[in-house]
Symmetry: C2
Subunit: 312 residues, 2 copies
């Protein structure tokens, strides 16, 4: 125990990949290694990039990597792509992107397997951040498709959330429904030469204007970009650094650290409860408390409340 | 305490509505009432109806209500519609549907509020079933839009899951991505006069044929219907009763009760952890265990594991 963690702390990339794979099976071994690494972390700055399918997230992230490297910063990317188990999109996308940065020791891109991680993607994201952070990467980017609550959970691990939109396909409505708007720190309308992009940016600015001031007093910038032509990316980088600098203020940092730790603990608790429930369903374990619920001598309401008593 | 529960056990519908509203705020008062009602339940048969937007779920449910009433069964419906907070669709849909059955004491339709229940919809569904079951309804139908993990969680509360599809708009891919296929007991291709419906039914049958036998040895029927013309509904009812009869066998019933109780407990634990985390984020509470994680003296991994120790 601790040997994988030691290798990872020494910068071993293959060990990092092995632990991510191991963590996906959520064994107690992986947990112990991650626990060690977590205690060594807390230094990396974290960026979440989310948005609907086809918004150009991967292209944008690729451009961000190049610019961050130009500033001398090392970058790790966790690409969480909840695509169909029948699709090989994630693996392929990885390779395409890796090619450009493959020989750069300051860049690490990892696609998170979504197969078998149902409900556990947010935990896997926390694991990847824990690992990359412990390895000493300056910036960790989490890229995910923003279409539902689970993706909101995923970017909750990061301290600067960039929401990518386009004027195509009525994506504004989709983002609003998903609650993604609620967690964005920076909004970028990509494919700005597409018709309606200016209107989209205006719509977003007006929507934001109508909302109450955020507790952290952050004003959300709305930018236009054309990631495939590397246009507007400097403004995006400036906005991201503006956000990271803003977070550096003591009062904000403490709130952000609480939010990140909460996202992590929520994700892990979610995995724990689902794993436990699968065992209970399979009849592999039957503690008295659970048996009483099945026989309706007591209810799940008091049992759930009791479970969390120690943290209340 | 217990007064609302007493009224609900006596069949008071307004008390039932009040407790559902109260439960949405997840106060400990509501919890105590629900705990009492839960112990009185376990008799209702539960049916989940899910599928993509526009598949015709509400029309189908309306037809099912009429047919179940014709068999002398009482029916309660919990309509979980996670529509935008800006939309009034759920409320309106309720009224339209209620009109036909408004004077029938054997029917109760309730739309679950989704505003503010983010992440708590599955718990709210469990609450509604607990209440309707305690009131003595023979059948409880849960209707939800099947587009993601949270909807999979929601129909997990029921013992017969009907997945409604149409040949329109590539919904087959959507259902596969959402993992909804994994939990369906009965599949219905609605709007069967639409082009491609037969092909869609064939695609579903072939997909099912390739899968291993289910642990409960249930063969999933694939039916065609035109709910708006009440065509094919008798076959749907027969399939549903086939499923309910199948479940009545002792070995299956025990597995189903375990699954339902697990869905309930998972939903409640999820709400507990999210409520707790919101308080932690807001800095309203700081137990030592949590403080240690924030200061990286320990990690969220050991904390999450400790939380669930007592049920392991």
């Amino acid at each position: 125990m601790g040997s994988l963690a030691d290798a990872i702390l020494a910068g071993d990339r293959r060990a990092a990949g092995r632990l991510i794979s191991l963590a996906e099976s959520r064994t107690s071994d992986a947990r112990d290694e991650l626990e060690i690494l977590y205690r060594h972390g807390g230094h990396a700055r974290t960026i979440g990039v989310t948005g609907p399918p086809g918004a150009g997230k991967s292209t944008l992230v690729d451009g961000l990597i190049a610019r961050l490297r130009a500033r001398g910063l090392t970058v790790a990317v966790a690409a969480v792509d909840p695509s169909s188990p029948y699709s090989r999109g994630a693996v392929l996308g990885d390779r395409v992107r890796m090619m450009r940065h493959a020989d750069d020791a300051g860049v690490l891109v990892r696609s998170m397997a979504t197969r078998g991680a149902l409900g556990g993607l947010s935990a896997a994201t926390g694991d990847a951040i824990t690992i990359f952070d412990a390895m000493g990467f300056d910036i960790v980017i989490v890229e995910t498709v923003g279409v539902g609550q689970s993706e909101v959970d995923i970017v909750g691990h990061t301290e600067a959330v960039l929401l990518l939109q386009t004027a195509l396909g009525g994506d504004d409505v989709q983002a609003i429904k998903a609650g993604v708007l609620e967690i964005a720190d920076i909004m970028v309308v990509n494919k700005k030469s597409a018709p309606g992009s200016d209107r989209m940016a205006r719509f977003l600015r007006e929507s934001l204007h109508d909302r109450p001031l955020r507790p952290d007093a952050w004003t959300i910038p709305v930018l236009l970009a054309e990631a495939s032509e590397e246009t507007g990316l400097d403004e995006v980088i400036d906005a991201l650094f503006g956000r990271l600098d803003h977070n550096r203020q003591d009062t904000h940092m403490s709130a952000i650290r609480r939010r990140q730790a909460a996202a992590h603990l929520t994700a892990l608790a979610d995995v724990e409860i689902r794993t436990l429930m699968r065992r209970l369903i399979a009849g592999q374990t039957r503690p008295e408390a659970w048996q009483a619920v099945l026989e309706r001598r007591s209810g799940p309401y008091s049992l759930a409340a009791r479970l969390f008593e120690q943290l209340r």
